[in-house]
Point group: D2
Chain length 165, copies 4
């Protein structure tokens, strides 16, 4: 272990994610289009309330991809970003055959908690279907412990993929 190696591990590379995400979020949200297919619906012909969580996860993963972070790589390198808390308000149902857009952005980081905000809207932005907040924490998969900062392996991955941008 060299002094040089100790230093980078203390760098909080998760800040890099935040900066990128906040940059995306400066004027507008990351937008992920969805369409209500039969398997998303329930007996009422509306999207089942739990289905929205699949769309919210997809939007979050695609937001990370858009800034060069492949979630699967993060997992392969030993980290995870499990959901530790979420709250959802369902304003109006989305019915089968309707298109919508999932808007998301990293809201802030408070300690180890990474908060993401969500709005699901009609394509023209006039209807608001859902608002939500999801809180993640970074976890060391092997130890099963919360990370105060992302590990160097992840940091290196981030630097590598972000260097490509």
């Amino acid at each position: 272990m060299s002094a040089e190696q100790q230093t980078p591990e203390q760098l909080p590379p998760i800040d890099a994610i935040e900066k990128q995400c906040l940059r995306i979020a400066a004027d507008n949200w990351f937008e992920y289009p969805v369409f209500a297919h039969p398997h998303h619906t329930d007996y009422a012909g509306n999207v089942w309330h739990g289905t929205y969580l699949t769309w919210m996860e997809e939007a979050r993963v695609e937001c990370l991809r858009s800034i060069g972070i492949e979630f699967a790589n993060l997992v392969a390198l030993g980290s995870d970003l499990p959901v530790v808390e979420l709250s959802v308000r369902y304003h109006r149902p989305i019915q089968m055959g309707m298109a919508a857009v999932v808007k998301t952005r990293m809201a802030d980081m408070k300690g180890v908690r990474i908060n993401w905000d969500y709005q699901i809207q009609s394509l023209d932005g006039k209807e608001l279907y859902l608002t939500a907040r999801v809180t993640l924490v970074a976890v060391d998969r092997e130890k099963g412990k919360i990370l105060r900062q992302l590990p160097s392996t992840v940091k290196d991955a981030l630097l590598r993929v972000m260097g490509d941008r």
Copy 2:
């Protein structure tokens, strides 16, 4: 409209549900056992965070069944009880092959909002995996409007099935 017809429709039969549910909940919760099968899991070998919503819904529907209310009948009679709000805290993951118990009870009714509380625990009650609150409202399916009280058709169904107890 006759006086006789006005009276039963003004009866707030939803109170009957509440009383029954509170009776169940007086000393203990309604308990619904679950088991983490492969399709419930994600890449981490844990139950995917959205899967818990299927268990919470099942526990709620079974709680209603236990007091004589078949949710499918309620829907067939023109009402619905959509989720309008939920908040979940994930304390510890449930891993594939683990059994657990979903505990639920109707917490209270505030105006048109029907609140249900949840705790998902280990079978011995020593581990707490999840706490949640889910808010429902009663809706007239045809009109798509929130009901201030359950319709007479539903009330009659409730009286009929509850009379069998």
Copy 3:
């Protein structure tokens, strides 16, 4: 006005679908891109075997949309196209973070059975993950009976939307 239009119910508009679909399928398949997100995966980090059915349904619905048939409209007009049979071969797993393409085409119609073929491949076409066949029948939703031909209401909808192309 032709004589054929005087007995619209006897017109087999489903043939129109077939012709369109076979036209698409003449040289190549309808292609629907997918990406393996966390909620698609199981404990092994692979897409859970049942998840593929959601992608196959989405590809089928989008194929119909591409020729002007909105599945939700078909349902609203009183018809349905339930799956009555399916067979799937899983050649290789798709892992979290992998992109793939779901290829589908209407294979043929034998009596009331509408057969769709599927291949799920890597983006470069070099890896074959899954092959499948799905059989649908057209059903009158109210009567719950299989339709030997699509009803005039559906036919009119088809003519209307297909006229826009």
Copy 4:
């Protein structure tokens, strides 16, 4: 230590599973009760066609449990039993609020292929909703290769848990 234990890898313990399963299946099937909850349904109020695969998997896992094989242990020990082929016939839909029973049994083993048969019926056995066949193979998780026989680690687990019966 017996001579048999010196060459554990050559023992075909998977035969033990087959014998147990065939014993269960001699006169009747392994039966797993299910109930159609809201999240199982689609816009038509019926169980969505892909949902049945979750019930079929649960029945298979519970059948294995009933003979002392915890699937999660098998995975922890380095093996897996992925689905490599399935075929399903949907005879009649199951509607929300209906109870049913998933009947399953290990049909036969042909080479490395382990075939399971399924029937989903009404509780009184008078209605047949679905018939299916699912084919599994045993896989070494680390090598990603098909196993001609279960590994000694799995075999030991099987002997240990089956010894408890």
